[in-house]
């Protein structure tokens, strides 16, 4: 086993960032990457797993370059990947509004907003390619919001001091995904991408330590299918559904990433979870999914709770003097626009102290009264009409008349498979893109940056770096007849049969809910040592029960959603333990990770750069063995390490 280097970084975790001034690093890397002869590109086969922003854009771009591409997705159509649900917008450093934005400022804001737990080189590159993304999307026909003169409109988003967010009503993710999907379908139509929907990746196949393919279950027929390739790109999103209740779509899961982890890919910073402050509160035990209300609402809405605990008057009957606009009180300079992690914790603090509103007491008000008074109901309707309508459909309350009730919910996961500067995992030939990797957002993601990162990875980074894998390594031809495929397929089938064979009494859903409860209690918005230790114990116990008392309906050789869910819950139950261990080991507060032991006197997060300025990368060491944590030391040459303050 390789050992720690002098800078504290594990040898396998060489990020391979180019040296030199940060502005030139990506240029340098692109120059240094060996090129694949155009005539040879068609001989290389790339397998792209997942068709969200990262997967669709990567598959389309790689096919355009001439590679042979196969793509699989879990949904019935690539257009339904969960990127589609992103509402607010996509950042870029265009500086069209002339308000002082620049690549350097976007880079700086992202490193600082991520609370200094991201890699500077990666973040700088992200800011660099951000502008090209907007160009690409506009050319594809993405109907971005426009000004009357026909130029693109921008707005300030998520507390940014500049207006750098591009948007398409409240449906930016949908429109960007349809752009990437249309580029993908163009390649499908041209025969350069083979598309296999309703396939779930259950295993990664490696040969001599290099990724050479995957095993999928065909979700319609139940057949196990082998896909061989010269490179595998995991674009499989985040793992927020480990909490059961989240804003993630129901099919979002950790299985592809987790299975790759078990075959050698290190998993980085699993405990970095983003809890979004503005979601519709839980309505009851039946709840299967939470709904996000775009953060843009905080531009005009004011967040408050009653000053006296248990005040059950209607919101309108509570005079201003008896309202606590707690974000404006605690953070006078940023007010309602503090970053997501800060806003979420502040809401939890008020509710824990007994000031929460609504029947559950787990909600705060987001009030548009003053905006409506100031700008008129029509102006507010123009800005947020679809969000207000969505809110009313779910809650049967009219936010033009009564304030919205909101509460934080799990939304995004900054952690993911560890990747180097080339987006390659610790398994050669296996790349991770988009939310599935860990690289760019540190411990907290800024609003409107997820779409930027997914598309940056897919359109403008992986298409270059994957070529480096082909040109730089000797890759033998492979077919699915290779014995490695047979072995791994047997593992996948056996695991499925184990799930079906437990023959207990409880459904996968009840275990998933129980796991979510453990994670929310022990690994949620505020974490402490005792709670995390308890969570580890509870997860282990629940996993034991799962394998003794699970009941799965039906068989494996058929369309079986119940079986699909059970497989995902089984993987969540393994993954959750590493998540909790990661949170336990990181005895500092940073970004979305708040350790109660590490806070200032006025209850703000206290980061500990002396001891924790690293990315934690977890290595799977076999069934039943304790996983090993390795460190990638983080250096900050450009953005000085400072405590974030939004006071």
């Amino acid at each position: 086993m390789a050992t720690e280097q002098s800078n504290g970084t594990h040898a396998a975790l060489d990020a391979r960032c180019p040296a030199g001034p940060i502005e030139g690093r990506w240029d340098k890397r692109r120059f240094d990457v060996k090129l694949v002869n155009p005539a040879n590109k068609r001989k290389f086969h790339v397998l792209v797993v997942g068709t969200g922003l990262a997967g669709s854009s990567a598959a389309a771009s790689l096919a355009e370059l001439g590679y042979e591409v196969t793509t699989v997705c879990i949904q019935d159509s690539p257009r339904r990947a969960h990127s589609i649900a992103a509402q607010g917008g996509i950042n870029a450093a265009k500086n069209y509004p002339n308000d002082g934005d620049s690549i350097y400022r976007l880079f700086y804001d992202t490193v600082k907003g991520g609370d200094f737990r991201a890699r500077e080189s990666n973040v700088y590159r992200l800011a660099q390619v951000s502008n090209t993304i907007i160009d690409q999307c506009a050319a594809q026909g993405v109907p971005f919001a426009r000004e009357y003169g026909g130029v693109l409109a921008n707005r300030s988003f998520g507390g940014a001091q500049v207006s750098r967010t591009f948007y398409a009503r409240g449906q930016t993710g949908q429109q960007l995904l349809l752009g990437a999907y249309s580029a993908l379908m163009r390649q499908v139509g041209a025969g350069r991408v083979k598309l296999f929907p309703r396939r779930e990746m259950l295993e990664l196949v490696t040969v001599d330590g290099i990724a050479r393919g995957i095993i999928c279950r065909n979700l319609v027929s139940g057949a196990y299918e082998r896909y061989a390739a010269d490179a595998v790109l995991l674009c499989t999103g985040g793992y927020g559904n480990v909490f059961y209740l989240s804003t993630n779509a129901k099919a979002c899961n950790v299985t592809a990433a987790w299975r790759a982890h078990r075959r050698g890919a290190f998993f980085a910073n699993p405990c970095f979870t983003q809890i979004h402050p503005t979601c519709i509160p839980v309505a009851g035990e039946h709840q299967a999914k939470l709904t996000l209300m775009s953060e843009s609402l905080r531009n005009d809405g004011r967040v408050w709770v009653p000053k006296s605990s248990g005040d059950s008057r209607r919101a309108a009957d509570i005079p201003d003097a008896e309202r606590d606009y707690y974000l404006e009180r605690r953070y006078p300079s940023f007010g309602n626009l503090v970053p997501r992690d800060v806003a979420s914790r502040a809401a939890k603090e008020r509710c824990d102290e007994g000031y929460g509103v609504g029947s559950s007491g787990k909600a705060v008000f987001l009030d548009f009264r003053d905006a409506i008074k100031r700008d008129g109901e029509n102006a507010v309707r123009q800005r947020y009409g679809n969000l207000f309508q969505m809110y009313e459909k779910i809650t049967a309350e009219d936010p033009y008349q009564v304030p919205m009730r909101i509460y934080p919910a799990v939304h995004y996961t900054m952690g993911g498979l560890w990747v180097n500067y080339d987006l390659e995992t610790t398994v050669p030939g296996l790349f991770a893109l988009g939310e599935a990797n860990f690289s760019d957002h540190g411990a907290n993601r800024l609003g409107a940056s997820a779409l930027m990162q997914g598309l940056a990875d897919g359109y403008f980074i992986a298409p270059y770096t994957v070529g480096g894998h082909f040109a730089g390594r000797k890759i033998e031809p492979i077919s699915t007849d290779h014995p490695a495929f047979g072995e791994v397929e047997r593992d996948a089938v056996e695991r499925t049969d184990r799930l079906l064979g437990v023959g207990g009494r409880r459904s996968a859903d009840t275990f998933h809910r129980a796991l979510g409860q453990i994670m929310w209690e022990g690994c949620g918005m505020a974490r402490n040592e005792a709670g995390l230790k308890q969570a580890v114990e509870s997860i282990r116990a629940l996993r034991g029960e799962f394998w003794e008392d699970l009941r799965v309906a039906g068989h494996r050789q058929e369309f079986n959603q119940n079986l699909e869910h059970a497989g995902r819950v089984a993987d969540f139950l393994e993954f959750a333990e590493v998540f909790a261990a990661d949170a336990l080991g990181r005895r500092e507060s940073c970004g979305g990770h708040f350790r109660e032991e590490s806070q200032t006197e006025d209850n703000e997060a206290r980061r500990d750069d002396e001891n924790f300025c690293y990315a934690a990368a977890w290595e799977h060491r076999g069934e039943g063995a304790e996983p090993a944590m390795h460190k990638e030391a983080l250096q900050f040459e450009y953005v000085p390490l400072t405590q974030r303050s939004y006071k």
Binding site: P143, A168, I394, A396
Partner: protein, 258 residues
């Protein structure tokens, strides 16, 4: 604050079909303790939990985002695609719409071009194939000019966005007595035809997508407008008029290789 949730009993009649080729039938189920705050799909979740508990096969249905944007959910409820509410997907329908003791019929999309996979799940890959035939602007990654180099009048951008809001759920075809996919196709053709970026391929796109639609076995439009009524994004049938003009124009003006 909201009243304590009442509890309802709901009788369901659900289409069950083991697989594509198998015969199907309506089955009756009774669900107790349905909260008015529950979504329709959460009620189906409860039904499925009960079925799994009883050792029976749960009801298969497509769903994912559960907030009305992914287009996965696809149920005909009491004869209406996406149910009784205007401009909503099934996942946004809540049980407060119903009363204690109601009986609700749940069926899959019905269209030859959307064959049943199992129970309430249908195969909508026909839409993907239509998209692959021309529902795009051919722009290689990296070849785009600066985004502000091509101005788009705000009104045109808004109209394009109205059409682009289509979520590809297929309710239009399911609601149409002819199982026509004209609203879906016209929304994509309109979205791209209204933008300057879409002009170079405008003629070929309209012709290719209409031909692809015909090949998939969707019916013709005969102006029932059921599609617009069922559309969860309230896409206007004006787009169909636009598609007809685009198709006619392209047929007259374009060269044979378009």
């Amino acid at each position: 604050m909201s009243d304590p949730p009442a509890s309802m009993r709901i009788n369901l009649r659900v289409w069950r079909q083991a697989s594509g080729g198998a015969p199907g039938r309506m089955e009756s189920y009774c669900i107790e303790n349905v909260s008015p705050d529950m979504s329709f799909l959460e009620m189906l979740d409860i039904l499925n939990e009960e079925l799994v508990g009883a050792g029976e096969d749960p009801v298969a249905f497509d769903h994912d985002c559960r907030e009305g944007i992914c287009g996965a959910c696809s149920l005909v409820i009491d004869g209406q695609a996406h149910g009784p509410e205007q401009g909503t997907t099934v996942c946004q329908l809540h049980m407060r719409r119903y009363a204690d003791g109601d009986t609700i019929a749940v069926e899959p999309w019905r269209a030859d071009a959307f064959p049943v996979v199992k129970d309430l799940v249908v195969d909508r890959s026909a839409f993907d194939r239509i998209m692959a035939s021309g529902g795009f602007i051919s722009t290689h990654t990296g070849s785009a000019p600066d985004a502000n180099a091509i101005l788009v009048p705000k009104t045109e951008a808004e109209r394009a966005m109205d059409a682009a809001a289509c979520i590809g759920c297929g309710a239009c075809a399911a609601a149409c007595p002819n199982a026509s996919a004209m609203l879906f196709v016209s929304a994509k053709v309109a979205h791209l035809a209204l933008l300057p970026q879409g002009q170079p391929e405008r003629d070929g796109r309209a012709i290719a997508m209409v031909h692809a639609m015909d090949e998939e076995g969707f019916g013709n439009c005969s102006n029932h407008f059921e599609c617009e009524a069922a559309c969860p994004k309230e896409i206007s049938v004006d787009n169909i008029a636009l598609l007809n003009r685009e198709f006619l124009r392209a047929s007259v003006t374009s060269r044979s290789d378009a």
